[in-house]
C-alpha cells in the first residue's frame, strides 16, 4: 500500500493540536480538542483506503476496480454521526455541570485544583493507612519477646493486647 504524505501530515497535525487542547482546564477546550482528534481519526481511517479512485457508486461507466475502497468510507460515515452525538452529549454534560455547580463567571472550569489536591491527599492517606495494620502486627510480635531486664515477675504490660485478643477470639462459656 502507498500513502499520501500530505494526508498523513494533516492527520498528525489534527491529532497533535487536539491532544494539546484536551490537556487544558476548560471543558469547552477539551471538547474542541475532542472534535479535532475526531476529525484526525476519521482521516486516519480514510488513509487506509490507499490510492483514491472513483466514487464507489456503480454505473454503466464505472468499473469495479477503479473505485475507492468503500469499507473505510462506511466506517467513517457512522463515525461522523456518532461524533455529533458524543459532542452533543459532552456539551450537555458541560452545561449541566456549569449550571448545577453554579460556576457562573468561572465558566466551565469545573475542575478545581484545590479540590483535586484534597482528593489526592485523601487517597494517599488511605494508602498509607494500611501501614498502621502492619505496625499493629509488628507491635504484637515485639510484645511477645522476653525482656530479661523487665523480668518475668513484674506484671507484663505487653501481654494486655495479647490477652484481650485471646479473649475476644476464644469462646466464652457462662
Amino acid at each position: 500500500m502507498s500513502a499520501s504524505l500530505t494526508l498523513v501530515v494533516v492527520m498528525s497535525v489534527l491529532f497533535g493540536a487536539g491532544i494539546a487542547t484536551m490537556m487544558e482546564r476548560s471543558l469547552t477546550r477539551v471538547l474542541i480538542g475532542f472534535l479535532l482528534v475526531g476529525n484526525g481519526v476519521n482521516l486516519l481511517i480514510y488513509l487506509m483506503s490507499g490510492t483514491p479512485g472513483l466514487a464507489p457508486i456503480l454505473g454503466e461507466d464505472v468499473d469495479g476496480s477503479e473505485i475507492s475502497d468503500p469499507l473505510p468510507q462506511a466506517f467513517i460515515l457512522t463515525a461522523i454521526v456518532i461524533n455529533l452525538g458524543i459532542t452533543a452529549f459532552l456539551l450537555a454534560l458541560l452545561y449541566r455541570s456549569w449550571w448545577l455547580a453554579q460556576l457562573g463567571a468561572r465558566g466551565d472550569l469545573v475542575d478545581d485544583a484545590a479540590e483535586h489536591v484534597e482528593d489526592a491527599e485523601e487517597t494517599a492517606d488511605l494508602i498509607r493507612s494500611s501501614a498502621a495494620d502492619d505496625r499493629a502486627v509488628q507491635e504484637l510480635i515485639d510484645a511477645s519477646d522476653e525482656e530479661p531486664d523487665a523480668g518475668g515477675d513484674a506484671e507484663p504490660e505487653a501481654s494486655e493486647a495479647s490477652e484481650a485478643s485471646a479473649r475476644r477470639g476464644g469462646r466464652r462459656r457462662p
Binding site: 477546550r29 482521516l43 483514491p52 460515515l77 507491635e139
Partner: protein, 1010 residues
C-alpha cells in the same frame, strides 16, 4: 479426585446456609467431607504402594498442553492423607472452639473447608499450571482465614502480609514453571521430574520455583509472615502450620528433589536457607512469651529443617524427610489445638501469667507432653524416629563425602538443640507452676474439645510402634531418589552414632534451659540484623509512600493530568513499538491530487489556530473549519457520501456548540493550567508524530489485497449501486444497528442531563390552537396574553409593551414568530426559513430513498431534515420548534430503532437468518427504478433515529436551555432552576424550584440566532 474436589467446592458453597441453621453444629457435619476423602484415599493405598499411581486427566487448554490432571503417587497420597485427616480433626475441634454467636461463623466454616479442598488439589495435581492455580487459591483462602477477625488491625495486617509474601513467591514460581515447561516441553510435573530440564533454563527455572516454595513455607527471608499469621483463630493456625499452606512448599521441594537435586542452585538454596531458617526460627522461639508465637517460630524452625532434609537429595534423607513431615504434622497440630484449649480455659497465652495449669488439666497436659516430646525427638515417638533417620542420613552423607553434608548436619544439630530448649520452654510456660505467681483462674472446658488433639497425640505414639505399617508409604515416596534402600525407620537401631547425636542434642538443650537467664540476656542484646519482618515493613512502607506520592502527583492535576498521562503512555508505548516496526509503505506519494496540499494547509492552520485562540466561538468555528476541510478532501477523492455527511454534521456541530456556549462566559477563563504550556505542546507534537508513524506503518503492514474488490458484486446482489450505503444498511447492518443504538442512548442522555423533570413530550407549543389560517393572522384579542408571555423576553417593561404591540399586530412568517422579542427577529431569516423548510424535508426524503443507488441514505437524509428543524428553531425560537415537529423525540427514536431491529428479526420468523434481505422492485416517476427492500426499511429506521437525535438535541440544548434562562430572568434570580414555565404548565409544583447563587454574564439571545 475431580469428583472429590467438586464435592469439597459444593459443600463449601452450601456451608454458610447450613451454618445459619445449625450454628456451630455445622462443623461435625462438614468434617465428614475431608473424613470421607481420607477414607477414599486409604482405599487407593494398596494400588499406590504397588506402584500404580491414580491418574485422572481432563483436557483443559489442549492448545497449550494444559490439562486438569491429577496423579496420586506415594508422596501425593501421604500429603493428601495428612491434609484430609488433620482437616477433619481441626473442623471437629472447631465445634467446641467457637460459639454459636461467633460473627462470620458460616463464612469461616466454608473457607476452612474450601482450604482443605484446595490443599488436597494442590498435593495431587500433576499439571504444573493446575498446581499453580491451587497454590494461589491457598494464598487467597489463607488471606481470608487469617483475616477472620476483620475488625482487628493486627488480623488485617497479618492477612495482607501473608497474601503479599506468598503471592510474590507464587508469581516468581509461575515464571519458573513457565521456563521449565517451555524448556521441558510438557506441563506434567511427573514428567518434568522424570526427565529434568538441564542447562541454564533448568537452573533458572528451578531457582525461581524454589523462591516460590521458600516464600510459601515461610523460610528465611520470608519467614515473618507465619508468626504474624497467628492473628488467625487457633484452628486455622493449627491447620496452616501443620498440614496446609506451609507444607505446600515442603511438598514441592520433596517432589522436585529427585529430578533437580543436582542442579547447581539447588543445594545452596535448600541447605543454606533451610539451615539458617531452622536456627533463626528456633532462636526466636526460645524468646517468646506468647505460646502461639512460640509455636509459630517453632514451625518456622521445623519448616527450615523439613526443607533441609527433604531437599537434601539422598534416598535416606528423603525417607527421613517424609517421616519428619508426618511427625511434624501430628505434633504441631496437637500443640496448637492444646494452646487453643489453654487459651480458652485461662483467657491468656502469656507464659508469665499461666501458672499451675498442668496440675488442673491433666489430660490436656498429657496430650501436650506427648506431642512436645515428639517435637523434641524423645523416644519412643515418631518425632524421635524421624530425627534419628535425619542424623543417620546426614552422617552417612558426610562419610560419603557429599558436599553440603557437614553444613546440613551442623545446622540440624544446632536447630535440634534449640528445638529441645523451646519445647521445654513451651511445656514449662503452659503447664508448670511459676514461682511467685498464683494459680491461673481456670474456666471449665468441655472434654469433647480434647478429642482432636488427643487423637493426634495417640497417632504420634502409635505410629512409632506401628512403623512397619507406615514405612511402606514413606519409603515408596523416598525411593525415587538414588541411594541404597537398606535403611529402615525404627525406634531402636542399636548404639549408633545417631543415638549419640541425639544424646548430645538433649544435653545441650538441657544446658540452654538450665542457663536460661544468660541466654535471655544474650537474646535481648542481639541486634535485629536478620529480622526481615522489619525489612518487609520498610519495603511496604516505601511502596505505600511512593503510591501515595504518585497519587498526589497525578490526581492533583485533575482531568488534564490524566489526559497527559494517557498521552505520554501512548507516545512511549506505541511510539517505541511503531519505530521498531520495519514495515514501511512501499511508496509514499507527496499527494493524491494537486489540490490536496492546499486543503491540507487550510486544515492544519485551522487546527493549530483552534488550539491557540482563547475565544470560545472562534475556536469552535476553527474546529468546524477543519471539518469542512475534510469535506473538501473527501469530495475530491471519491467519497461523496462522506463529504455530504461530514458537511451536514459539521454544520450541526457548530450550531449545537453555539447553543450551549452562548450561555457560558464569553472568554475562556485563564488560570494556571494544570499541565503547563510547554508540556502540552510537547506532548501534542509527539502524539501527532507517533500517529503519523502509526499511519505509515499501518499502511505498510497491509499485505493482503483489500476486500473491496468483492464488494461491487455484493452490492449488485443487494439491489444497490451505492456500495457505501449498501454496506451500511445491508452488508454491515449489524454494525449500523449498534451505531444507531448508540445514537438513541446519546439522545436520551442529552435530554436526561438537561431536563430536570421528565423529558417526555414535545417541545413547547403555542397555547392557542386554532385553524391554520388564523394562526398566521394578527389576533387582537390575544395581544394581552402574548404581552404577558413575552414580558420575560424584553429587557424593560416599556420595551415589552412595545414588543407585544408590534408582535401582536404584525403578520408573521413563522408560526411562533410573534413570541420572539422584535429585537431578535429577522424578517429575512423568517422568510427564508419559511420558503426552504418544506423543500428541505422533501430533499431529505429524496436522499433517503435514492441513497441505495446514489449519494445519500438514511444518515444524510436524517441530517438534512434535522438541519431544517434547526433552521426553524433558530429563526422562530422554541415555540417554533414545537410547531415544526409536534412529535415526541423519544417516540421517533423508538420507532426508528424498532424498524431497524424489526428488519433484523423479521426474517427469523420467515425461516431465514437475521438481516436477510428481500426486495420489491418498481418503477417510480422522478425517482426512477427503485427497489424497496427490507434494507430500505432499515434505512428509514436510521433516518428516524437521526431526526430524533437532532430533535432531542434541539429540545434540550436549545429549547430547554432557553426556558431555564427565561425562567431565571423572570424570577429575578440569575440561573435559578425552575421546573417549568408557569404560563405553560401552571400545575407544576413550585417547591422544586431551587435558587442558586448568582452568576455573572448572560450573553444576548441574538448571538445564537444571528
Amino acid at each position: 479426585m475431580i469428583a472429590s474436589l467438586a464435592a469439597f467446592a459444593g459443600v463449601a458453597l452450601v456451608t454458610p446456609f447450613l451454618a445459619r441453621w445449625l450454628g456451630r453444629r455445622v462443623f461435625p457435619l462438614i468434617a465428614l467431607m475431608p473424613a470421607a476423602a481420607f477414607v477414599l484415599l486409604l482405599t487407593w493405598l494398596p494400588g499406590v504402594l504397588a506402584g500404580n499411581p491414580v491418574v485422572e486427566v481432563v483436557p483443559w487448554i489442549p492448545q497449550l498442553g494444559v490439562a486438569i490432571s491429577f496423579r496420586i503417587d506415594a508422596l501425593a497420597l501421604l500429603l493428601a492423607l495428612i491434609v484430609t485427616g488433620i482437616g477433619a480433626l481441626v473442623l471437629l475441634y472447631c465445634t467446641q472452639y467457637f460459639g454459636d454467636d461467633e460473627p462470620g461463623l458460616g463464612r469461616f466454616a466454608a473457607l476452612l473447608l474450601a482450604f482443605a479442598g484446595v490443599m488436597l488439589g494442590l498435593v495431587t495435581a500433576d499439571d504444573v499450571f493446575l498446581l499453580f492455580t491451587f497454590w494461589e487459591a491457598t494464598s487467597v483462602l489463607s488471606y481470608l482465614l487469617i483475616g477472620h477477625y476483620t475488625e482487628r488491625k493486627e488480623s488485617r495486617g497479618a492477612a495482607l502480609q501473608a497474601l503479599t509474601v506468598t503471592t510474590f513467591g507464587g508469581l516468581t514460581m509461575l515464571v519458573g514453571l513457565v521456563v521449565l515447561v517451555v524448556a521441558g516441553g510438557t506441563t506434567s510435573l511427573s514428567e518434568l521430574v522424570a526427565e529434568p530440564v538441564g542447562g541454564t533454563a533448568g537452573a533458572v527455572g528451578i531457582g525461581l520455583v524454589l523462591v516460590g516454595a521458600i516464600s510459601k513455607s515461610a523460610l528465611v527471608p520470608f519467614h515473618f509472615w507465619l508468626p504474624a499469621a497467628m492473628a488467625a483463630p487457633t484452628p486455622v493456625s493449627a491447620y496452616l502450620h501443620a498440614a496446609a499452606m506451609v507444607k505446600a512448599g515442603v511438598y514441592l521441594v520433596a517432589r522436585l528433589a529427585p529430578g533437580y537435586a543436582d542442579v547447581s542452585v539447588w543445594h545452596p538454596l535448600v541447605v543454606v536457607i533451610g539451615g539458617v531458617t531452622m536456627i533463626v526460627g528456633g532462636w526466636r522461639a526460645l524468646r517468646q512469651t506468647d505460646l502461639k508465637l512460640l509455636l509459630a517460630y517453632g514451625t518456622v524452625s521445623q519448616l527450615g529443617f523439613l526443607v533441609l532434609v527433604t531437599g537434601f537429595g539422598t534416598r535416606d534423607a528423603a525417607l527421613a524427610g517424609v517421616a519428619l513431615l508426618l511427625a511434624h504434622a501430628l505434633f504441631k497440630a496437637t500443640l496448637f489445638l492444646v494452646v487453643g484449649i489453654v487459651d480458652h480455659a485461662t483467657g491468656t497465652r502469656d507464659v508469665r501469667r499461666l501458672s499451675a495449669v498442668g496440675r488442673r488439666m491433666p489430660v490436656i497436659a498429657t496430650i501436650a507432653f506427648i506431642a512436645a516430646a515428639s517435637m523434641a525427638g524423645v523416644p519412643p515417638l515418631i518425632g524421635f524416629v524421624a530425627k534419628e533417620a535425619v542424623f543417620t542420613a546426614f552422617l552417612d552423607a558426610t562419610a560419603a563425602g557429599e558436599a553440603w553434608a557437614w553444613a546440613a548436619l551442623v545446622a540440624a544439630i544446632l536447630g535440634s538443640v534449640l528445638t529441645v530448649a523451646y519445647t521445654a520452654r513451651f511445656l514449662w510456660g503452659a503447664f508448670f507452676t511459676k514461682p511467685g505467681a498464683g494459680p491461673t483462674t481456670l474456666q471449665p472446658t468441655g472434654t469433647l474439645i480434647g478429642i482432636a488433639p488427643g487423637t493426634l497425640a495417640v497417632a504420634s505414639l502409635a505410629f512409632a510402634f506401628a512403623l512397619p505399617l507406615v514405612e511402606p508409604l514413606l519409603a515408596a515416596s523416598a525411593d525415587e531418589l538414588p541411594g541404597s534402600r537398606e535403611y529402615h525407620l525404627a525406634l531402636w537401631h542399636g548404639l549408633e552414632p545417631a543415638l549419640a547425636l541425639s544424646a548430645l542434642v538433649f544435653g545441650l538443650g538441657a544446658l540452654l534451659v538450665w542457663r536460661r537467664a544468660p541466654v535471655a540476656r544474650l537474646q535481648a542484646a542481639m541486634p535485629h540484623t536478620i529480622d526481615s519482618g522489619r525489612g518487609y515493613l520498610a519495603i511496604v512502607g516505601a511502596l505505600d509512600r511512593l503510591a501515595a506520592g504518585l497519587t498526589t502527583f497525578i490526581q492533583a492535576r485533575g482531568v488534564p493530568g490524566y489526559v497527559a498521562v494517557i498521552a505520554t503512555v501512548f507516545i512511549t508505548g506505541l511510539g517505541v513499538a511503531a519505530l521498531r516496526n520495519s514495515t514501511w509503505p512501499d511508496t509514499v506519494r507527496p499527494w493524491d491530487l494537486p489540490a490536496q496540499p492546499i486543503v491540507a494547509a487550510l486544515i492544519a492552520t485551522a487546527a493549530i489556530a483552534a488550539a491557540i485562540v482563547r475565544q470560545r466561538m472562534t475556536a469552535v468555528l476553527l474546529a468546524g473549519t477543519t471539518g469542512y476541510g475534510l469535506v473538501l478532501l473527501f469530495g475530491m477523492s471519491g467519497a461523496p457520501d462522506l463529504a455530504l455527511t461530514q458537511a451536514l454534521v459539521e454544520t450541526l456541530t457548530v450550531v449545537v456548540f453555539v447553543l450551549v456556549v452562548r450561555r457560558l462566559p464569553r472568554q475562556v477563563a485563564v488560570r494556571r493550567q494544570a499541565v503547563r504550556a510547554p508540556f502540552r505542546i510537547a506532548i501534542g507534537v509527539l502524539s501527532g508524530a507517533v500517529m503519523a508513524v502509526i499511519g505509515l506503518v499501518a499502511l505498510g503492514a497491509r499485505v493482503q489485497p483489500t476486500i473491496a474488490e468483492g464488494l461491487p458484486a455484493l452490492a449488485v446482489e443487494a439491489h444497490g449501486r451505492n456500495i457505501v450505503n449498501v454496506m451500511l444498511v445491508d452488508i454491515r447492518a449489524w454494525d449500523t444497528l449498534g451505531e444507531i443504538s448508540v445514537l438513541v442512548a446519546v439522545a436520551t442522555g442529552v435530554a436526561s442531563l438537561i431536563f430536570i423533570t421528565g423529558r417526555t413530550g414535545v417541545a413547547p407549543r403555542l397555547d392557542a390552537p386554532s385553524t391554520r389560517r388564523e394562526r398566521f393572522l394578527p389576533l387582537p384579542e390575544q395581544a394581552d396574553t402574548m404581552r404577558g408571555a413575552r414580558a420575560s423576553l424584553a429587557d424593560t417593561e416599556h420595551e415589552a409593551d412595545a414588543a407585544g404591540e408590534a408582535a401582536a399586530t404584525r403578520q408573521t412568517w413563522l408560526l411562533a414568530g410573534r413570541t420572539i422579542s422584535p429585537r431578535n427577529r429577522s424578517i429575512l431569516v423568517e422568510v427564508l426559513v419559511r420558503l426552504l423548510f418544506h423543500p428541505a424535508i422533501v430533499v431529505s426524503v429524496f436522499l433517503l430513498f435514492v441513497g441505495h443507488n446514489a449519494p445519500g441514505g438514511g444518515f444524510a437524509g436524517g441530517l438534512v431534515a434535522g438541519l431544517a428543524l434547526v433552521a426553524r428553531y433558530l429563526a422562530g425560537g422554541r415555540y417554533e420548534l414545537g410547531e415544526a415537529a409536534p412529535v415526541d423525540a423519544g417516540r421517533l427514536l423508538g420507532i426508528g430503532l424498532l424498524l431497524a431491529a424489526g428488519t433484523a428479526t423479521l426474517p427469523l420468523f420467515l425461516g431465514r437468518t437475521v438481516f436477510q434481505s428481500s426486495w420489491l422492485e418498481a418503477d417510480v416517476p422522478v425517482l426512477g427504478t427503485i427497489s424497496i427492500g427490507t434494507s430500505t426499511l432499515f434505512d428509514i429506521g436510521v433516518y428516524l433515529v437521526v431526526v430524533g437525535l437532532v430533535l432531542d438535541i434541539l429540545r434540550s440544548l436549545g429549547a430547554e436551555i432557553d426556558r431555564q434562562r427565561e425562567d431565571a430572568d423572570e424570577h429575578g434570580l440569575p440561573d435559578a432552576i425552575a421546573p417549568a414555565d408557569d404560563a405553560l404548565h401552571p400545575d407544576t409544583p413550585h417547591d422544586e424550584r431551587r435558587a442558586v447563587a448568582s452568576s455573572g454574564t448572560a450573553p444576548a439571545d441574538g448571538e445564537a440566532r444571528a
